[in-house]
Each structure stands twice: as C-alpha cells, then as structure tokens.
Symmetry: C3
Subunit: 197 residues, 3 copies
C-alpha cells in the first residue's frame, strides 16, 4: 500500500469523523452516523468523478474506502471521539483532495477555471452535502478560509502546471498551499468579510 | 406487462404519494406536489443509474414511469388520500428497490460493500431528497428501521449471491428480508438508539 | 460570438445575480456569493447534461461561462446591485434554458414526458439548488408560475416538434411561451392555488 493510498484513507477517515460529529450534534441514530460519515468522506470525490465521467465513482469500485468510512462513522457512534485537533487533520484532507481533484481535471483536458472548480468541489463538496442533509448553512460559506484555502491551492497547482512543473511538484504545491493557508486561518481565526449593510 | 413492471409502477405510485403527502404538509402548490412526488418516486433510481453509468436514467427513457408519478402526485393534490396503510405499501417499494438496486450493482461487477450501498441508495435516496428539498431532517436518520431494513435486505441478497443462489432467489430474499423487517418495525415501533449523552 | 452564445452568457449572468442576491440576504462571505452565484447560474445545465450523459457538463468545458458567473457574483458582493427589473431578465433566462434543454433532450431521442422534464430541470434546477443550499423552501414550489411557465413552454416546443416544425421555430415558440407566461404572472401576480384545508 503506497503513500498516496495511505493519505487517501487518512483523509477519508478524518472526513468521516467530521460527518459523525455532525450526526452526534443532531442526535441521529447509527444509520444517520454512517450516512453523514460516508457522505462527508466520499461526497466530494463522487461529485468530482461524476463531473469527469469516471463511472462508477471511485468509492463504488473499492470496498476499502467505503469500509473504512463506515467503520469510522460507526466507531464514532459508540465512542465519543475527541474533536480537538480534528480541524488540523481535516486541513490535510482538504489539501489532498484539492490537489488530486484539480490535477485529475487538468489531466482530462479541462480548461483552467473548470479544473479549479473540480478541485474545490472534490475538497469541499462532502462538507457541503453534510450540512445540506441536516439543514445547516454550509460551513464553507462562512468558515475560516476553508474553500478559500482550497481555491488558492488549486490555483497554485494549475499555475505551476502551466509553467511546466512536473505533476509531483504541482501536486505537492497545491497540497501545501491549501493546507498551510487553512491551518494559518484556524490559528489566527482569519475569515473573509461579509457584505457591508 | 409482466409482474416485474407492475411492481415497479406500484412502487413508483406509493413513493409518489409519500412525496405528495409531504407537499400537503408544507402547503405547496400543484407544481410542488408534482416535484416532490416525482423526486421521491424516482430520485433513488436516478441516483442508482447515475452511479452505475446508466444514462439517461431509467425515468428519462420511459414516459410511463414519469407519467404515473406525475398523475398520482396531481391526484393527491385534488383528493386527500388516506395516509393510513401507506407505510405498509411503502415497505413493499422499499424491498423492491433495495433488491433490484443491489442486484444491478452486483451484476455490473461492483464489490459487495459498494453494491450494498447502491441498493440502499436506490431504495432510500428518493425519501432523502424529498426531505432535503423541503428542509426537514431526513426521515431515514431517525426512522423505524427504514434504511436498516434496506441494509439487511441488500446484505441477504449479496450473501445469497456469493453462495451461488440464482438471481431470482437472491432477489426474492433481498425483497422479503427488507420488507418483513420494515413491517415488523412499523408494528412494534422498533427503532435504533441515539447516542448516549 | 453568435446570438445564441450571447443569450447564454446573458442568462448565466442574470441567474448568477439572483444567486448573489440570496447570498446577500443570508450575509455570506465572498466564497458564499460565488458558490450561490455559480450554482444558480449553472446548476440546471449541469443536471441537464448529467441526465443526458454529456460529460463533462458544459460549464466544465468552457472557462467563459464559469468566468462570467464568478465575476458577476463577486461584483454583486462589492456593489449592491438593483434587484428591480431582475425578475424580468430572469424570465428571459428561464425561457432560454427551458427551450434549449427540451430540444437537446428530444434530439437525444428521449420520449416527450422525459424531454419535458429535462427542459424544466435545466431551467429551474439552479434555483432549486440555490434554495436547498441555504435551507429555504424552493421558490418554484410557491412562485408566481415559475416552473409552470417552463412546463408550458417545453410542452409548446415538443408539440410543435411533433407536428414537424423546424428546430428554430420550435425553439422560438418554447422560449416565447415560457417567457411571456412568466412575465404575465409577474405583472398580474398570478400563482397556483395551494391545497384546500
């Protein structure tokens, strides 16, 4: 099992926990925990694959990804997981899915702005679906530079690629920019302004 | 018109009524009735087909399915349908879409856990979309073994298939397990626990 | 740049503004403005393309469409756009997406009722997603003949096509019927009834 796959399973686990925490907040039953966990963990990637015509989407080709998402969500029903530190782990998942999503889209030949959107959708889509399912206002609309970090990272990746950077470098840059901005925003509580008046 | 198709149209009608009842609860106009009726009746199957790459999804290839869903939803606007007994009919639809969804996915070569998820999505997806559209918390997150019955039925079907059962037998088993558990849960008011604390 | 494309970009801009106005109502940050603007402007077309198997969906093949939607949404964050008159422009977009969506579906060989649904989804889907994302009850369920105008226009187009009308005529008819009914409904405040009792 290579590093790439390990990071993928790590990201899925972290996102699944964030879905399960929302389920706890709403006092759902175990099916609700698993639904929110799986949707949060895999929703962004499913949207990405649907956009790019990768059918069936990745989670439906691999019992491991789904199995891990289900197991983690169920565990979070029985054990109260510590939420502390979760958002730092989440920042790693955000960077990973931003970079891989944008690179996949660019490799498929999509123009830059659409490829950017695919990366951001892959990274933020699961979280948006989580909130939509339980009728909360999506976190990304008011979060501390969550989607913004993803936008910046995808932009960095696509610019680097434009200038001929090899895939591994572009990927690393997209990941690093996203994750660093997001962690900085958490620590300094940075956020975007809301409209005046 | 064979038995299979009759059950399909029956399931579509029942699910359409449950969408229309939600529209009545929210006091929507006839367009709202039809939208909720059609989404509830066909949403799960559309998600299933999108996952499996069956394009266009079944409802878009067949004026009958859509026509029945629209007609039933409209009728439910003009006539106050009796809700009593509806959940028993709904249990039949739940079993039918669980079994056909899981079998279709397994036939496409999907691994077991993903095939299970496809069956559950086909059966429960329409109901989730219905609630999401009108901002209610999805019923499956707190219902009386609704998604749980679907999970059990899809599991039974996939295990039977693994042991070499012919399709008709596996299908019947998946249907029976889902529908029986759900009916039992309605009669005995069984439900899953919510998290302690 | 031909007339068709100009109308398309015009429709995208108008729908993006209606998304941004919703973002202002909810006091979102610029990322929220762009998300709602882009989803409203392109969501219907993405659903249409997903149904018809056009992958990747149009907005992902064209930096212009997305770029305009993003730019308009951002502009609406910084400048308070006048809402007055917007619904008239919106009626033009509604007609355009209804007609092009229904024609595309019919050209793909879909039967009439499904083709009708594709046209209505293309025209109204973005607005429904906008409301779902911020947990409002979708406007089309209670609006002044919004989806209804789209249904009427798509029906007119499909009937004309059935009777052998050339594409340009059918398209013009679908557009005109949708837009005229919608404008009439705005001016006369027409709406459908809600269920008695």
């Amino acid at each position: 099992m290579d590093l790439f796959r390990l990071v993928d399973l790590f990201g899925v686990s972290v996102f699944a926990v964030s879905g399960a925490l929302k389920a706890r907040e709403k006092r759902l039953d175990p099916v609700g925990f698993v639904t929110l966990g799986v949707v949060t963990a895999t929703g962004g990637g499913v949207l990405r694959d649907a956009i790019l015509g990768r059918v069936p989407p990745f989670v439906f080709q691999d019992s491991w990804i789904l199995g891990v998402a289900i197991a983690v969500s169920l565990a979070a029903f029985f054990v109260r997981l510590p939420a502390k530190g979760l958002e730092y782990f989440d920042a790693v998942g955000l960077g990973f899915y931003t970079a891989t999503g944008a690179l996949l889209a660019a490799d498929k030949g999509l123009p830059s702005v659409p490829a950017l959107l695919v990366g951001v959708t892959a990274a933020c889509g699961g979280g948006v679906l989580r909130e939509v399912l339980v009728n909360d206002l999506p976190f990304v609309f008011r979060g501390t530079l969550y989607a913004t970090a993803s936008i910046a990272g995808a932009t960095a990746l696509l610019v680097a690629r434009k200038f001929g950077a090899p895939d591994a470098l572009a990927l690393g840059l997209g990941f690093a920019v996203t994750t660093c901005i997001r962690i900085l925003a958490i620590r300094k509580q940075l956020s975007l302004p809301t409209p005046v008046d």
